[in-house]
């Protein structure tokens, strides 16, 4: 448990004695900050009082607004899901049930959802929650003038005409939603989506906003405590813009306030890794994310908790590059890297080597079986030096060269730097004649370079936006702006159309088709999967947690053991 004072003393003293040597000023998070556990719900805890449960978490960035539609920061979205609620919501047993909707009628073709809004749902200013709150919110999300980052989720959700309205200048009225009366909200989909309910429960961007309130706030809506109202389990009771601490407390107006077992959640902005550990050891935090040496230091701690948020780090090959347009070259690179060394000797945090494009333990079907289990766990382009050598010889022949010099792109991050250096040495050793230079840039520059096709190959990563293999497979369709590989495949695009079209309701065939898509992209080696990240936390073991199907914690139902 706590008070591993000796270990900690050693650790702090070691870090003190390392003095200047280490340049980076102790940025923790290990690059995990992005998605770790923030989807839909939140994390960790302590406090050993006998009465209420008052959780204490740390965040690595400031809360930037509580506007469900415009927000895109992981920290803020986590708080939004605690302050608002969707049509559907997570229940005390981790399943998805009704949220602000009390009923839904689904048409036979699975394309029309008619929601009835709960009678007993109120905003914290006393207004009733109406269907217009959803109608207004979704239109706001789609409105190109709002520039909402997550507008594309309307397309992902399959809302009729979402693509045309969001990106092609069609009028907002064309969006497939309507509210015939105060209680009824109707959504029309282009085609059924098996994960539609997941999106409604977890997607903060789909949560309602109160039109008259938003309009009365002007452009100040949800920018501070004075301009925010709540319809979810919690409300913000301390929020000083520019400050470093936020307090969420139970919302007495929430229709299911009795089911919320947590009284308050305090978030403190802490970015320094050592400081977080000290806060944890002093009982000031109920959860802390570990990185680097701290993981091995706490390896046997009963409070240790590992969370494999579905993500994938992979090498993107620019298929329009003079060399990497060659499939054999991409295959040679893909089979010449021993990924187990990356996870076991470089990362050492429990991350898993990946020979697949769709992460494991992810995208469960209606029977609770994950995507990978469903398709029989196939692996592709595994480490095989003999094969790599053959591909390499072929590639050289086809390219008409004896040796090539290529540049590997990655963004600043101490772990990625080590991974990149390892890949460089492996390729130069295993593919004689290949010379690899490394190019490290800022994160923004890396995105810009990959987006503009101004690179040859490099590391990128993707965290799932929703619980379906499509959140990955979507990236490589021809219209995607995330297709950094500039890889276009007719068959792949056709299969994609089937997945979102005729097969949308046929779970089994749909999954098999997605499996085929994975096979195509990996047999073409447009990407080379590297590893699936795992986040390691220390988390107060005195509490009992409720998890969603994806393993995220549903904070509001946390109970004392």
């Amino acid at each position: 448990m706590r008070h591993n004072v000796k270990r900690l003393t050693t650790s702090v003293l070691v870090s003190l004695s390392m003095v200047a040597g280490l340049t980076a000023c102790g940025n923790e998070g290990g690059g995990a900050g992005a998605g770790a556990g923030t989807t839909g719900t939140t994390q960790g805890n302590t406090a050993t009082t006998t009465d209420g449960i008052n959780l204490q978490y740390s965040v690595t960035e400031e809360l930037n607004s509580l506007d469900p539609n415009t927000n895109y920061s992981a920290t803020s979205m986590g708080m939004i899901t605690n302050c608002y609620e969707g049509l559907m919501a997570y229940q005390a047993d981790g399943t998805i049930g009704y949220g602000l909707a009390s009923n839904v009628d689904i048409s036979e073709d699975g394309c029309t959802y008619t929601f009835t809004i709960r009678d007993e749902a109120y905003w914290s200013n006393g207004d009733k929650v109406t269907s217009n709150d959803f109608y207004y919110s979704w239109r706001r999300l789609a409105d190109p003038d709002m520039g909402c980052t997550y507008a594309y989720m309307l397309i992902t959700a399959g809302v009729k005409n979402a693509m045309a309205v969001c990106y092609q200048g069609a009028p907002l009225d064309d969006l497939g939603i309507s509210c015939p009366d105060d209680k009824t909200f109707v959504v029309e989909l282009d085609a059924p989506r098996s994960y539609f309910n997941d999106l409604l429960a977890a997607g903060s961007y789909f949560m309602p906003v109160n039109q008259s309130y938003v309009e009365s706030c002007g452009d100040q809506f949800a920018l501070d405590k004075e301009h925010t109202i709540y319809c979810g389990p919690f409300q913000m009771s301390e929020w000083e813009v520019g400050g470093t601490t936020y307090l969420l407390s139970k919302n007495p107006n929430y229709y299911a306030a009795d089911s919320v077992s947590v009284d308050s959640i305090r978030y403190t902005l802490l970015t320094d890794a050592q400081q977080k550990i000290l806060a944890w050891e002093s009982g000031k935090l109920d959860q802390v994310q570990l990185s680097g040496d701290f993981i091995s230091m706490y390896a046997s701690d009963p409070d240790l908790y590992k969370f494999g948020y579905p993500g994938l780090f992979f090498i993107a090959f620019n298929c329009e590059d003079e060399y990497f347009s060659n499939r054999n070259l991409r295959m040679a690179v893909s089979t010449a890297i021993d990924k187990s060394v990356i996870v076991d000797s470089i990362l050492c945090d429990g991350s898993v080597a990946a020979d697949y494009a769709i992460p494991a333990d992810f995208a469960k079907d209606s029977k609770g079986v994950t995507f990978r289990e469903n398709i029989g766990n196939p692996t592709y382009n595994t480490y095989d030096l003999a094969a790599a050598s053959t591909y390499w010889e072929e590639a050289k022949k086809e390219l008409g060269v004896d040796s090539i010099s290529v540049e590997f792109l990655y963004n600043e991050d101490s772990q990625l730097a080590s991974v990149a250096a390892y890949i460089q040495s492996e390729l130069q050793k295993n593919l004689p004649g290949m010379s690899v230079t490394l190019r490290q840039t800022s994160y923004n520059q890396r995105l810009a370079d990959m987006g503009n096709g101004d690179y040859q190959f490099g590391i990128t990563r993707w965290y799932a936006d929703y619980q379906d293999a499509s959140t990955y497979l979507d990236m490589w369709i021809e219209t995607s702006n995330l297709n950094y590989e500039n890889w276009f495949n007719e068959e792949y695009n056709e299969l994609y159309k089937k997945v979102v079209g005729e097969l949308a309701l046929d779970e089994e065939k749909r999954i098999q088709t997605q499996a085929k898509m994975e096979e195509i992209i990996l047999s073409e080696a447009a990407i080379c999967p590297l590893y699936q990240p795992v986040f390691t936390y220390l988390r107060n073991n005195n509490y009992e947690y409720v998890y969603t199907a994806t393993g995220a914690t549903i904070t509001r139902f946390t109970k004392r053991k």
């Binding site: 930037n64 607004s65 000290l278």
Partner: protein
């Protein structure tokens, strides 16, 4: 003197203008845009650029910015605190940074002077050696290590202070950050004071004062220190500015809602308005501080008269 001051203020205005123009151009060279999110499509980015006027030609953007700035409107933040007025954002953070900076400055200077004088008066003695070692350590230990050490021993082990800064305990929780921030300036002041004092105390007018029977304290403070201070004053400006523009490291460790880390975040996130406003304020602070230091010179050392003042 007045003419000199006016001239300096005029130059300051021109310098600021040039700084803003250069910054505008430099920001264009930064990779990406304020809307650096993989999930945004080029169309959405175009919409956002239009919304915030970033699609206008650069010279026009500069003109609009300066025009707004004169009326006190520094624009809104693009992503750190989306749509929140930059002026309001800074108003919440600046007071803390300035207060901690000033606290550290005062503590650093006072203790630095005392240490320097003690060392000089015990030249080559054990106290001198001790002070010199302290000064060397103080200027060479990274603030990250120092801050963590303070937190570990005084806050975590002894429990005398809160682990992090808290606006609910603004005095108690600012003590450790103040110490961490003041050690560097303290060491520097001590070194300067010691060296200058040794030289000054060896000079003939000090011997004269002593032989005239002036009290030791008066000799040291009035005759010695005042003259020893002159070179130190040149270093005060940059030192004060360093403290008042916030320390990213200390802010991170003590979770201080300050300007230092905001500036870094804003640069990384391409939050143009925040970067430019901060750079503008920092430049103004530098210009004013340097002006005050120049004027102080004349007051402390009558041998130095400002060129403008003589005319």
């Amino acid at each position: 003197m007045l003419k000199y001051c006016l001239k300096r203020i005029g130059m300051a205005a021109i310098t600021t203008l040039i700084i803003i123009i250069i910054l505008f151009f430099l920001l264009q060279l930064m990779p990406g845009s304020p809307f650096n999110n993989e999930r945004l499509t080029p169309d959405q980015i175009a919409v956002l650029n239009t919304k915030y006027g970033l699609d206008k030609p650069l010279p026009l953007q500069i003109v609009i910015y300066i025009k707004n700035m004169i009326t006190g409107d520094f624009g809104v933040s693009y992503n750190i605190q989306q749509n929140y007025p930059v002026a309001n954002l800074l108003a919440t953070k600046f007071p803390t940074t300035i207060r901690l900076g000033l606290q550290a400055f005062v503590v650093g200077i006072i203790f630095g002077l005392i240490l320097g004088i003690i060392a000089a008066l015990h030249h080559n003695g054990p106290l001198d050696t001790g002070t010199t070692i302290f000064a060397m350590l103080g200027s060479s230990v990274p603030s990250h290590v120092l801050a963590l050490g303070l937190v570990f021993f005084l806050a975590y082990k002894c429990g005398w202070f809160p682990l992090t800064y808290s606006s609910a305990q603004p005095v108690l929780s600012s003590i450790l950050p103040t110490i961490a921030l003041s050690i560097g300036p303290m060491a520097m002041t001590a070194r300067y004071t010691r060296n200058e004092m040794i030289e000054v105390m060896d000079s003939e007018y000090i011997t004269l004062a002593e032989t005239k029977g002036v009290r030791r304290f008066r000799v040291v403070v009035v005759h010695g220190l005042k003259n020893a201070l002159i070179p130190l004053i040149t270093t005060l400006g940059p030192m004060l500015m360093g403290l008042m523009t916030g320390s990213t490291v200390c802010e991170q460790i003590f979770a201080i809602p300050g300007i230092g880390s905001l500036f870094i975040t804003a640069i990384q996130a391409n939050d143009y308005n925040v970067v430019i406003t901060l750079a503008f304020i920092f430049s103004m602070m530098y210009i004013v501080t340097l002006l005050v230091i120049d004027l102080l010179y004349g007051v402390i050392d009558p041998r130095i008269r400002l060129a403008g003042g003589k005319k």
